[in-house]
Amino acid sequence: MKLHATALTVRYPGVPTAALDGVSLGLEPGEIVAVVGPNGSGKSTLLRALLGLLPLSAGQVALDGRAVDGWSRRELADVVGALPQREESTFPLTVLESVLLGRWSRLGPVSPVTDKDHNAVVATLRRCDVAGLEDRRIDTLSGGEWQRVRVARALVASPRLLLLDEPTAALDVGHEMELFELLRRLATEGLGVLIITHQLNLAARFADRLLLLDRGRMVAEGRPTEVLREEVVSAVFGWPVAVTSWCDGAPQVVPLRRAEAAESGRALPPLPEDGPS
């Protein structure tokens, strides 16, 4: 299954500038695309626009050539597993119940939950390294467990594409790596994965392509080495960085300290006390 978005523009009412301005992207089976960019650059808006959750001012999104508006939410959920950035549970469910809700697109309003659904949940939990937690209430999970349970919920209906909004937020380095490794495994199995992340360095090592957004516009797109260039990253994030290379060739971004930037003669954002009071 292929996802294709062309010239997406989204405007929020009452905001003069576009939240998303002419962004295009494609997602093929078996590849990981990472969307990176500073806070407020339109990453989450992009994900919601791709899923048809926002009215577009211009542009279109198509799944296998069919416009996303033409899909019912249930049809869409059956082929696209997605994870929003924020989520609060009003009434705490168990892990089993929570992940089973990911099968809604298969189950519909009335069909009973069968052994097949249970087995799918257990298998997906094992795949996400949270097996054995079925009966735990989700408000008792650690941040890492909860994120992996959420990923399991996005995966449990066996989607063909996975769109994740900062799934490694609040994860320690071990769990973060486990999640990226899982995404790589899933991509190898043929899933198309789009991940929004602030982890430039992990994105550079795991993603096939990066998409760099700034104030709603696409600044760069391509292989990590093409996108993560010193001058581009420094300008977009408003902070001087050095870009080195890890042994596998992936670019690694190192933000510079003020003294280091001054030494190398690079522009620095003004210190707070330098600004107008």
């Binding site: 899923l51 939410r73 997605a82 929003p84 009003t90 009434f91 990911g102 697109s105 054995g132 992996r148």
Partner: protein, 362 residues
């Protein structure tokens, strides 16, 4: 670049190696203990049996004291005064109380999921204010009690919801739960002010007649009312049960629900429409009865869990039984007079709610 790792890398214990702590003696409620899982599975049949027991027991209670033998005889054959009391007064009254209480509890549970707030209740969207105002206008205008006043209460309730819906549309945030809540509070306050003004100038007789609508009661129950209520309520309750899984998703939040396949706006619209008509129908037969829709879903979530396919039938049974009990108390405690049933549900509901709240926060 050379990365040196000193010593063997110890694998971190992963979740798959650590079984969850399942402590049956745990009182924290943090884990689903085997006892709790067992309780969840058997809760519905147990509730059904308890509800039946309550309904049967309520037949034996009333301002006229009847021996159990008399009640059973009255149920068997239709002759005599005792039979009339049981068959034409108590039985329809109990069935109506059960249906109304059950429907209010189901509406409360559905609305709590929709607005993602455990404090939501059926009267949330201005319904109670509107219903009370409609009834008081009907009473003050001298409409005959029964059908006409019940119709004006229903119209008042639905008009209030329509106004709430209209306010949210003007705010440009139609169906946004937070705006719905605010608009509901505002419309209720407005309707309350007009109701109070009307009652202040009404004659004492109208004032007394209006309090029945303000606090609810089943004194006017009849087989006609039972049938009228059942005809409207049954398909609406079935529709809410059909929406149960969509409600589960809605409780997770708008984006998550949509991403998992729920049509959020359509579900919200259906829930608002269904619960409004259902609640207005309860008003038309019994006035505004508070607390059932708030307390019962809250209490039952701890027993059967928050998933609505199990929760909705459970709260229907429990809400029904609770209201039948409250009505039994209402019609006997100051015999031969009657208290409005809403007074009893509040008197019992408030301490119950406080207790539940304390337990859930402990």
């Amino acid at each position: 670049m050379v990365v040196e790792v000193r010593g063997p890398v110890r694998p971190r214990p992963s979740a798959s190696h650590v079984p969850p702590v399942l402590d049956p003696t745990s009182e924290t409620g943090l884990f689903v203990t085997p006892r709790a899982a067992h309780r969840m599975r058997h809760a519905l049949p147990a509730l059904a049996v308890s509800a039946l027991v309550v309904v049967v027991a309520a037949l034996f209670v009333g301002p006229v004291l009847l021996s159990p033998a008399n009640v059973i005889a009255a149920l068997r054959d239709g002759a005599g005064q005792e039979s009339a009391i049981i068959r034409s007064l108590r039985l329809p009254r109990i069935l109506l109380a059960f249906g109304v209480g059950g429907a209010l509890a189901v509406c409360g549970a559905a609305l709590q999921a929709m607005v993602r707030n455990p404090l939501a209740e059926p009267w949330l969207l201005g319904l109670s204010g509107g219903a009370a105002l409609g009834a008081v206008i009907g009473v003050v205008a001298g409409l005959p009690a029964g059908w006409s006043v019940s119709a004006s209460a229903t119209i008042g309730a639905l008009a209030a919801v329509a106004l709430v819906y209209r306010i949210t549309a003007v705010a440009g945030r139609r169906l946004d739960p937070r705006v719905l809540l605010l608009a509901g509070v505002v419309v209720s306050a407005f309707a309350g002010a007009v109701t109070t003004a009307l009652l202040a100038v009404a004659d004492p007789f109208a004032f007394r007649a209006a309090t029945v609508w303000l606090f609810g009661g089943f004194a006017g129950a009849s087989w006609d009312a039972v049938v009228r209520f059942a005809v409207i309520a049954t398909p609406l309750l079935a529709l809410l049960w059909w929406l149960a899984r969509a409600l589960d998703l809605l409780a997770l939040g708008e984006d998550t629900a949509a991403m998992l396949g729920a049509d959020v706006d359509r579900t919200r619209r259906l829930v608002i429409l269904t619960t409004s008509i259902l609640t207005a129908t309860t008003v038309s037969v019994a006035g505004t009865i508070g607390f059932v829709g708030l307390v019962v879903p809250h209490a039952l979530r701890g027993v059967v869990g928050p998933l609505h396919r199990r929760l909705l039938p459970a709260v229907f049974l429990a809400g029904g039984a609770f209201t039948v009990l409250a009505d039994a108390v209402a019609r006997t405690v100051v015999r031969p007079a009657e208290l409005p049933v809403g007074v009893i549900t509040a008197l019992v509901g408030v301490p119950l709610f406080a207790m539940l709240l304390r337990r859930s926060l402990a």
